[in-house]
């Protein structure tokens, strides 16, 4: 893990150079004899277009240059894309460098820094193109597309994720939860865990009875990641504990439609007091505040961590694959989500169904791209069913099989392959940050993603997780949470706050609040005298002028509600 980090950082500069390679056409690349059937528009052309892309997130998997499925896709649609990822930097730093140099790759997803790219005039407007590409157009409803409009009224990017085609087949809690290892639940005889206090009680009891892992390593009952932007793992739990959904930076009162601050609520204080108590008891990892993301993932991968609060995508893809390839799933190291609240009887909204549209970021095409139509066609083709299946299911009979009813399934070996890092880099090519569907395939039978195929999902679960599902009588991770969806039309508010910068009073407050929380939350958790430290923290927090931030968020909330009402009104006419 550490080695790879060094290499990653050292290569960062090199990669950003390669990311700048223009939209060059490589002539004479191999031509596939077969013409792509189905919805892929047009026959395979004689030459493969090569695009470049930069994604302002660290790569989960960086695929090889001669990746097999990438080549199959290229042969079918006549284009490929070389992807580069964030390495050792923050999204806005990397994007800042692109802006300063004025050199962009063909595709870019700048994460939280999309607005800066737009303001720097780096992006191509989509409005004239969307109608020409049916798979792109179909991706969002008119109202959803309209939410992407920027200050000049045009659309510059689309969010690639969390969009459901047809019937919702969501099985996994992709968002945040308090997670607990299956082995703990099994030992505790699958109790009903609803509150924070119950959660820590189970962790403590289990650890007292079983202080080590199967290979004798000492358990860490609870850890929390505070590294950089990933400090949401410690910071935003109070909103959920009060029964609110992941608006990310604030809570919205459903009745009064007013923005509320979750940092100063009584629940927040109780939550941090609990963490403080557990820290003093030695239940919380003493290294939590100094570990980096890499350290965190290595810790989880060894199976020593009994529980933590995190988002599924932040750990599960890496950690679950390690459990699978290392064959340690059988010890019950996999994590189960719990929909905790601060007191019993509060309806929780840890899971928000129906996909979450984050309009603040997405994939964009830059002004440096020389073949804009080609770039749109590339996105369009990736969304066609055939290519979508290739991206996420793989090659038929190699990565999945089809039964007599036309249902896709995988053998145990295929599943192991799909979790194997080497296999992923040389064979699989998901174009993971290009637009993608979840939900039901266009064939009406299968799921868009293997993880959402009901039969496949169930079969691929590790034995201890299956037992948990049976014990709680549920079929999916989502059902475990018992979430009730009450999110309004404005949801999620973080799609606005993510883009706030110091050029407004609200943005300055937002940056200072972040700095203040980064600085104080570790102190609060570690403090010998909690009450005193909490008061000091509250004073420092108030000095950041959170009211400026709240005011700006309120404006945005009002704007969103009005925009929706206007849209509904315009539809009625």
């Amino acid at each position: 893990m550490k080695k790879s980090k060094i290499a990653a950082v050292a290569l960062a500069s090199l990669m950003s150079v390669s990311a700048m390679a223009g939209c060059t056409k490589t002539p004479g690349a191999t031509t596939a004899g077969s013409t792509a059937p189905g919805e892929t528009s047009g026959a395979a052309p004689a030459q493969i277009k090569e695009f470049s892309a930069f994604f302002a997130v660290p790569a989960t998997t960086e695929i090889n240059k001669d990746n097999e499925i990438q080549k199959i896709i290229a042969d079918k649609i006549g284009a490929k894309c070389n992807e580069t990822w964030l390495a050792g930097q923050e999204a806005s730093e990397a994007v800042g460098v692109f802006i300063a140099s004025g050199e962009y790759p063909d595709f870019i997803n700048g994460g939280d820094a999309m607005k800066a790219l737009y303001e720097a005039g780096a992006l191509i407007a989509w409005d004239d193109y969307i109608d020409k590409y049916p798979n792109i157009k179909e991706f969002f409803s008119d109202y959803e597309w309209s939410q992407f409009r920027q200050s000049d009224g045009k659309i510059y990017w689309m969010n690639p994720f969390e969009n459901i085609y047809g019937e919702d087949k969501t099985t996994t809690q992709n968002g945040e939860a308090f997670w607990i290892q299956a082995r703990v639940l099994e030992w505790a005889k699958y109790p009903k865990i609803e509150t924070l206090d119950e959660y820590f009680k189970v962790l403590e009891d289990y650890n007292a009875a079983n202080p080590t892992t199967h290979d004798g390593k000492k358990n860490i009952p609870y850890t929390m990641l505070c590294d950089d932007w990933r400090y949401f793992c410690i910071e935003n739990a109070p909103q959920f504990l009060d029964g609110y959904p992941n608006d990310g930076s604030c809570m919205v009162n459903l009745e009064t439609k007013k923005i509320m601050d979750y940092n100063t609520t009584p629940t927040a204080k109780r939550y941090f007091k609990k963490l403080n108590e557990e820290y003093q008891k030695g239940i919380i990892d003493t290294g939590a505040f100094t570990m980096k993301y890499d350290d965190y993932i290595s810790k989880l991968s060894t199976g020593v961590v009994l529980g933590m609060c995190d988002q599924w995508w932040d750990f599960a893809y890496t950690v679950n694959d390690v459990f699978k390839t290392q064959d340690t799933e059988k010890y019950g190291y996999n994590y189960i989500p719990l929909g905790l609240t601060i007191d019993k009887g509060i309806e929780n909204q840890w899971y928000t169904s129906g996909g979450t549209l984050n309009v603040s970021s997405g994939i964009a095409i830059t002004k440096n791209c020389k073949d804009i139509d080609g770039a749109f066609k590339f996105i369009d083709d990736l969304l066609s069913q055939e290519i979508h299946d290739l991206r996420f299911w793989g090659v038929k009979d190699v990565d999945y099989k089809v039964d007599d009813n036309g249902l896709f399934y995988r053998t145990e070996e295929m599943r192991k392959n799909a979790a194997d890092p080497t296999y992923k880099t040389k064979h699989l090519c998901t174009y993971s940050y290009f637009p993608q569907w979840s939900g039901t395939s266009r064939d009406g039978k299968n799921a868009m993603m293997p993880t959402e195929q009901p039969s496949e999902f169930k079969d691929s679960l590790p034995e201890p997780v299956k037992k948990v599902f049976d014990a709680y009588k549920v079929n999916t991770y989502v059902e475990l949470l018992h979430s009730v969806n009450k999110a309004g039309v404005w949801f999620p508010m973080y799609s606005y706050s993510n883009n706030m910068k110091t050029d407004t009073a609200g943005g300055t407050a937002w940056t200072k609040m972040g700095e203040c929380k980064h600085q104080w939350l570790p102190k609060v958790v570690m403090a010998k005298d909690f009450e005193k430290t909490w008061d000091e923290y509250m004073k420092a927090y108030a000095a950041c002028k959170p009211e400026d931030f709240i005011a700006e968020m309120q404006q945005e909330l009002d704007r969103r509600i009005k925009a929706y009402d206007d849209f509904v009104a315009s539809q009625k006419k």
Binding site: K2, K5, I6, V9, A10, G88, E90, S92, E93, G96, V97, I99, A100, G102, A113, A116, E119, A120, G121, C226, D227, Y231, T286, G287, F289, T290, K501, T502, D503, G507, T511, E515, H518, Q519, L521, P522, K523, M526
Partner: protein
């Protein structure tokens, strides 16, 4: 007599010829200094024009000429920011600690190495010791992290040999951070920094040592009364140059080793500029902070130079 008098015109002509002849004799020197001059203009003088952005609300889309002028607003914002002063204090402290360690260790190392009489051993040690200079800071940071990790060599030693019960989390204790930075600098740069002193030592007139031998000076006395005083001009010049770099107290170490628990002491100006300037796309704010930093460096160099002038030592200008 009259034929011998030199007329001013002749002198002028003679001078011209002389300059030209001189120039013809050393084309390489002239070309290389011209290149240096061009290099200096391109990389040191032209970028200074970028400083205008500190007085603008600079937006890349609008450029230098289209951005709005805001006077000293960015500086005001800078001086209202508490984190800035924290970062400034940390930078200054780490810079001064680094500077002191830099000089003491490099000079001491050069003196000790100079006393080694076996040529092979001397060359060997010297080569090994300057190797870390060529490692990137990222690598050094990773090494430091591994060494000081809870399962690293230092903690293993403390627990197995010194009998500590639990590992020390070096990166969670505020008091350690500056010293970890200083130690990393010493480890990486001492050998390299000593080279210049070793070179200066070889230039010392051997007859001084012979004379001292005649007078019965011990080895220590020779170091104290001959080597060190002879190094004094070199030390002074290097000190003056390095004073200007005090505020460049590093970036990678603090950026990667710093964390929320010790951010009070680990946050350094360059990281602050990254956080509040580049990450916020407020390039003007970053530039303002950069200008402030340069200004302080300039003042420090001038002060140092003035002191050197007063004490009659070597100086830069």
């Amino acid at each position: 007599m009259a034929s011998n008098t030199i007329r001013p015109e002749d002198l002028q002509a003679h001078k011209k010829v002389k300059v030209w002849a001189e120039a013809k004799r050393q084309p390489f020197l002239l070309i290389s200094s011209a290149l240096l001059l061009i290099y200096g203009i391109i990389f040191y003088y032209i970028p200074v024009f970028g400083w205008v952005t500190a007085f603008q609300d600079y937006k890349p889309a609008k450029g230098f000429f289209g951005s709005q002028w805001v006077g000293l607003a960015k500086f005001q914002k800078l001086f209202e920011n508490k984190t800035f002063f924290l970062a400034f204090r940390n930078t200054l402290c780490m810079g001064v600690i680094n500077l002191v360690f830099h000089f003491v260790t490099a000079i001491a190392f050069a003196l000790i190495l100079n006393e080694v009489r076996i040529v092979f051993a001397k060359k060997f040690v010297q080569t090994i010791s300057y190797m870390p200079h060529f490692l990137s800071w990222i690598i050094v940071t990773a090494i430091v992290r591994d060494i000081l990790a809870s399962d690293g060599i230092v903690n293993e030693f403390l627990m197995n040999v010194c009998g500590n019960e639990s590992p020390i989390d070096f990166f969670a204790i505020k008091g350690y951070f500056w010293w970890i930075v200083a130690f990393s600098n010493v480890w990486k740069e001492t050998g390299w920094n000593a080279i210049i002193y070793l070179a200066a030592i070889t230039a010392i007139d051997p007859s001084l040592y012979e004379a001292a031998d005649m007078d019965g000076a011990s080895r220590l006395q020779k170091v104290w009364y001959i080597t060190l005083p002879s190094l004094r001009p070199t030390i002074m010049i290097l000190l003056l140059i390095n004073i200007g770099n005090v505020l460049n107290a590093g970036f990678e170490l603090q950026y990667i080793l710093g964390n929320d628990v010790i951010s009070d002491v680990s946050k350094i100006l360059d990281v602050f500029i990254l956080d509040w300037g580049i990450s916020q796309f407020d390039f003007s704010f970053g530039t303002a902070a950069g200008i402030f930093k340069s200004l302080i460096a300039l003042i420090l160099v001038c002060l140092g130079n003035w002191t050197a002038k007063k004490t009659g030592d070597e100086r830069l200008f």
